[in-house]
């Protein structure tokens, strides 16, 4: 049992990839010493709880602004006693529209990141409050942008080994969340940030939640729309039908139409939309996945098919995905240092990604849609 409880999870204590951060000062925090012992009692001009917060706050220096969004302002920062170190300090904005205290996205993000310590999940080093009750999250600095940026850049060439490396890092991050009973609920390319050593990190836990306890139901109204699986689209939902239908029909065209034969019970789902028998698309086989994603190879196609099964009961879990033999066949995943990358700095991109609200797409007609739907779900 931890005898010295007041160790902050300083950079040295998180299992972030060692190349990402060389925060030497963190070493002084291990073994952790209770911060309050260093304070002479006579100088107690603050309550113990305030002293502890002040100690954390004093560890960091805020530098230039990296980005600003509806949700937060992100600054570059460093450890006071190690100016060469780099961190991102995310200052959560007070949401004037939300009168019930700290907003749910901030609560979720802080709650889950405090618990998750894994090389493929963005590390939360510390949290402190600054004057006027501002919440500051000290996060791992991830300067190489996000996966969306790489996908959209037509100048960047990548092959099977690169995909395998990126997918592997994503799958490990997701597995670790699930192992800790945490559902991210907003996995998408611009929430996958890249560290200076190329490591991919799952970020933005503003929509996350724990697994429901046995016998309790969870809501369907989560995940940025475009990334939702069919069972959530068929679930209880307050959104207009045509849009849902459009997305469902796109999924059907690609993977096959859900029917009682390939997904027992699907027609009982609250928002199930029957398909005209004439236009039923048969369930797609391995060949389809191979045709669509030739780079993945036949074994990779097999993995993709297992991950995209219409019936969620047949869809493989994160740990099953990691046990698939595609990972061990040739080619081996690219080493992090050899992964393709953008030449220009992605620090601004990190600023943008971290200051955005969860469930939100950078632009487009459905901006904020997921966030507002999630509000509805909280009734």
């Amino acid at each position: 049992m931890a005898a010295s409880p007041f160790a902050s999870r300083s950079p040295s204590m998180t299992v972030a990839s060692p190349n990402t951060l060389r925060l030497r000062a963190g070493v002084t925090d291990w073994p952790p010493r209770p911060a309050f012992t260093s304070k002479p009692l006579a100088k107690a001009d603050q309550e113990l709880t305030e002293q502890l917060n002040e100690d954390v706050r004093q560890k960091y220096v805020k530098d230039k602004k990296l980005g600003e969004g509806t949700y937060a302002v992100v600054f570059l920062g460093y450890l006071r006693n190690d100016p060469a170190s780099k961190v991102a300090i995310k200052k959560i904005k007070v949401n004037a529209e939300y009168k019930d205290g700290l907003t749910m996205d901030a609560i979720r993000e802080v709650k889950y990141l405090q618990e998750l310590s894994h090389p493929n999940v963005i590390a939360l080093h510390d949290v402190f409050s600054s004057k006027d009750q501002n919440l500051n999250l000290v996060l791992e600095f991830l300067p190489r942008g996000d996966l969306e940026m790489l996908i959209k850049d037509s100048d960047i060439q990548y092959g099977l080994a690169d995909i395998k490396a990126w997918m592997g890092m994503l799958a490990r991050g997701v597995w670790f969340c699930h192992e800790n009973f945490v559902l991210h609920r907003d996995i998408k390319p611009n929430n996958l940030l890249i560290a200076s050593d190329g490591e991919v990190k799952l970020a933005d836990f503003g929509l996350a939640r724990s697994f429901a306890d046995p016998y309790l139901n969870m809501t369907h109204q989560v995940i940025t729309r475009w990334y939702r699986p069919p069972e959530l689209l068929y679930g209880r939902d307050n959104t207009p039908v045509p849009w849902t239908y459009d997305q469902i029909s796109k999924i059907c065209d690609a993977f096959g139409t859900p029917t009682e034969a390939n997904w027992p019970g699907v027609s009982k789902l609250p928002n199930y939309i029957p398909t005209d028998p004439a236009s039923i698309v048969p369930l797609q086989g391995r060949e389809f996945f191979y045709r669509q994603f030739p780079t993945a190879g036949p074994v990779g196609a097999d993995l993709l098919m297992a991950m995209c099964s219409l019936d969620p009961r047949n869809r493989i879990t994160a740990v099953e995905a990691l046990r698939h033999h595609w990972w061990t066949i040739d080619p081996r995943p690219t080493r992090n240092e050899d992964l393709p990358q953008k030449q220009k700095s992605g620090a601004k991109k990190m600023g943008d990604d971290l200051s955005r609200r969860g469930g939100q797409i950078d632009d487009g007609p459905f901006k904020n849609a997921a966030r507002q739907l999630d509000f509805g779900a909280m009734k």
Binding site: V94, D100, Q114, E115
Partner: protein, 418 residues
Amino acid sequence: MIEDDIYRTSSQFRLWSYTEASLRSLREKTNAIASERVRAALRRAKEAHQSTTSANGTPQTGSDGEGKKMDDKEIDCLTPEEELAFVRFYCEKTLELGETYKPALPTMVRATAIQYLKRFYLTNSPMTYHPKSIMACALFLATKTDNYYMSLRQFAEGIPGKKPTTQEEVIGPEFLLMQGLRFTFDVRHPFRGLEGGIMELQAIAEGQGQPGPHLTHQTPQQLQQKLLAISPGPVRASSISDRIGRAHGTTREILKTAAQMTDAYFLYTPSQIWLSALLLADRPLAEFYLDTKLGGPLTSTDIKPDPSDLQNPLYDLRTKLLRVLTDCSALLQAYQPLSSDPGQMADLQRIAKKHHHCLNPEKKLAPKRTPAGTEASPAPASESETERLAKKRKLEAEKARSSQDIFGPELVTERTKQ
């Protein structure tokens, strides 16, 4: 990676796990700092009071008694033990408050709120912040962190009392509370583990049991037979499944009460807590469960030991675990609700009276702007906080005018287009 490794990365382990000695010393430290500050604040208040009364020339009758007492002797502060008893009373009140909602707030939410209170008062003193004002805030915060969403208005309206509780009173200390929690909101409860254990036991009872990961030689039939052969439980049950069900209920009750009010969460892990509670509820059943995981039996004489048990490599672990569980069981068993114990209640009244005289006057809401003698609001919010709330209200009013839809205006426009 094993479960223990994962637990060690949790904030509950990193920040909120102690030995008995470290827990005591932390509480003493918090008490010492707060006492000093309370004394200084009361001295300042007295001086200010004296200067106003002498300037006015008319002594104020209302607060005379308090002033005299401070003249007579050094201000008598609460001891760490008294603070602990005082906070425990409000932990029990939190459980009751959660019960008054229709429907009652989930056990998990109430348990989280109680742990928030207990954690908050490790580095804050009830002499500085009255638990009465932190309690409701902790319960509301727990509804948010445990995914049981209700609006602040709905929550505030649900608080019983002669005078209605305002939304500001509930939310006022939120930031302060979060700071006291060191911005860790996750509480690992023993309930989920208990549910899993009960499911496993029921499966064994039905002949569907899975062997433990280290004792793979056990068949579902063997497990079932062993379960049916355990010594009788505390009460007569119609079937083994009924017995498991009763043990489940009793254990849950211990977890809801004793496990919350004592220091169990600070001293033991969630699995240790639920196993200890199960030992109290039905000892032979709990020991059987441990046997399926770690081998055994250790003490039983009425069951013929399995030959494989005799060289049980997990024997040391089993012995060590039993020692920890016995300690934890003793802690849980010693718990007596305050309300059902006249002795404790009388002591509590004495503490409350003493507390009244050593509550830090400077930690009430905006004391500088409150005229002397009038009662300050319990919410310890700063001036800027008050301004912020005013701004928020203004924005809300504007928002309400522009849209009545909870989904917000933007999406509504989107829908109209379609």
